[in-house]
Amino acid sequence: MELFLQTLIDGLLIGGLIIVVGIGFSLCFGVMHIVDFAVGEWVMVGAYTGFIFVKYFGHDPMTYLPIIFLIFCALGWLIYPLIYRAVSGKRHNPVLMGLVFTFGLSILAKGGALSVWGYHIQSISTWLSGKSLDVVVATVPALRFAGFVFGILVTLFFMLFLYKTKFGVIIRATAQDRDTASLLGVDVRRVGGLVYSLYAGMTGMSGILIGALFSIHAAMGAKYSTLAFFVVVLAGMGYVPGVIIAALVLGLLQSFVGVYIGGRYTLVALFMVMYGVLLITPKGILRRGI
């Protein structure tokens, strides 16, 4: 029973952090119909940026969260015109162009990180590292708990932004129907840029916590791309609220398969579920995707 509760809590905590990676990614697909293959690479670059800041300026990695968010928003804002160009215009297969372009970006980022830092595994530690909280039945590493809280807070702000502000209404309208939204005076291109830069900011920012929780290396992107894809497929591509449930399911699946069946089966289980969901219900488990 204790093992069960511990596994449950571990799963939920990891899931909470993954929401941040999945939520912007999902919105990106909803608004621009872009599947960003480079999602894991944003996490990786975010983690390395945090690593550099800590190395050269000291302080706790957590203090850099807002700065990293702004830096990555700016990066996303700068890259977006290129992505927009790749998927629009006289291309007869925009989906392919978007996939291949972001795929090129991900190779570029991975190759750059490998060239600069090589295959070494780096780590950053925060003031919470090594501490743990004792809940009645289970021990919770403090950093994991912080990651979870961070995930929930960011998600909360994001949802408030999406559902309570005028910008949010515009974004949701664009996601529902691009053509009608643009007829009503929405600059679809700029909305896309806003969404992409928010997505880049959130994903890059989550990189620090992910880097502090696990480890930082140049090839880590693939893992988080896998998780983000899993979450978005399960949630229904483009359906933002579903991401919260899907990320928690992902966390639980990972920790339960890892504990009760064996660590080497977790990835097989993830890919099987993902493939199965796409075949059986391509719109996600809630059937709300686009």
Binding site: R85, G104, I107, G111
Partner: protein, 321 residues
């Protein structure tokens, strides 16, 4: 120009003759490199059958290559079967697997199909890591056979077969037209009587058969196979990249892309040693191709001229907000 290239037989025959006599002039190292180039040309072309001509982006094509490698390996090591039968079995099993998974998966389109095939490919890799018979994460050792020209000519044969099949089936026969119809407008194709479900499955099986056979040849050639080397994501990635750089949906595009990418990669490797910087160059090249020449190098040749001023103007337009 691409049209002319496709119609004329002079170029492929000349190319074939050059390839046939090439090993007599090359050092063993360069024979190895040329064999690799041929292998990638065939792989990129077989991806092109489903990805380029049919418009279904398979991001899990490496699975068929790995399956072929493991089938040949298991048949030769555990059952002691001859290499030839292993190859045949590899190709047939890969095509059968494509038929089986193609039936449910090909109902998905666009990004959904791409993600589903990607998940499938990764699943196969994870299964190969877990299973006992594949040697798990430690990999598998095949009997070694050190005969470079043998593998060179074998690879040349399968590459030629891939191109011949594409040339006859996709550029000349009605089958190719049906695939193009599916790519351009699937509903319309179905309306005018194309049996889209079975045509798509046939194309998928055809594009899986060649990677299966090539995987088998590669396994016997390198003699040591491992889930990361024969099922890794980089296999699919490079198939897509090469086909894309050269120009998808064309007969010579993947060939051009494969020769360019593989040669550049190997030359950089010879110059810089075991570096990773070539990834930056390749990644940048992919992005540039998508932005400026979405039809690939073949498309560039079609446009015939390339003016620097126009390219500069396009770049300005691209980065402008």
């Amino acid at each position: 120009m691409a049209e002319k290239l496709n119609r004329r037989l002079g170029l492929p025959i000349a190319l074939l003759i050059v390839c046939l006599i090439l090993p007599f002039f090359l050092s063993p190292l360069w024979i190895r490199i040329t064999t690799e180039v041929l292998m990638w040309a065939a792989l990129a072309q077989s991806w092109n059958i489903i990805g380029g001509y049919t418009g279904y982006l398979s991001f899990g094509h490496g699975a068929f290559f790995g399956l072929g490698a493991y089938v040949t390996g298991i048949l030769m090591v555990h059952l002691g079967w001859p290499f030839g039968i292993g190859l045949l079995a590899s190709g047939i099993l890969a095509a059968l697997l494509a038929l089986v998974i193609g039936y449910p998966t090909l109902r998905l389109r666009g990004a959904y199909f791409a993600i589903a095939t990607w998940a499938f490919g990764e699943m196969i890799r994870q299964i190969a890591i877990i299973l006992e018979i594949t040697g798990g994460a430690f990999g598998m050792q095949l009997p070694s056979y050190l005969n470079l020209p043998f593998f060179y000519y074998l690879m040349l044969g399968i590459t030629a077969l891939t191109y011949l099949t594409t040339h006859i089936l996709l550029e000349r026969a009605r089958f190719g037209l049906k695939l193009l119809a599916i790519r351009e407008q699937e509903e319309a194709a179905e309306m005018v009587g194309v049996d889209t479900v079975s045509i798509k499955m046939e194309a998928f099986a055809l594009s899986a058969f060649f990677p299966g056979v090539i995987g088998g040849i590669n396994a016997y050639w390198v003699t040591y196979i491992h889930p990361d080397s024969v099922l890794g994501a980089q296999l699919t990635d490079f198939m897509v990249v090469m086909a894309f750089l050269g120009g998808i949906g064309s007969l010579w595009g993947p060939f051009l892309g494969a020769v360019l990418v593989q040669l550049v990669q190997r030359v950089l490797w010879l110059v810089w040693g075991e570096g990773t910087f070539y990834l930056v160059i390749i990644g940048g090249a992919i992005c540039a191709v998508v932005l400026f020449i979405p039809n690939g190098l073949i498309g560039l040749m079609e446009a015939r001229i390339f003016s620097p001023r126009e390219a500069l103007g396009q770049w300005r337009k691209a980065i402008k907000w």
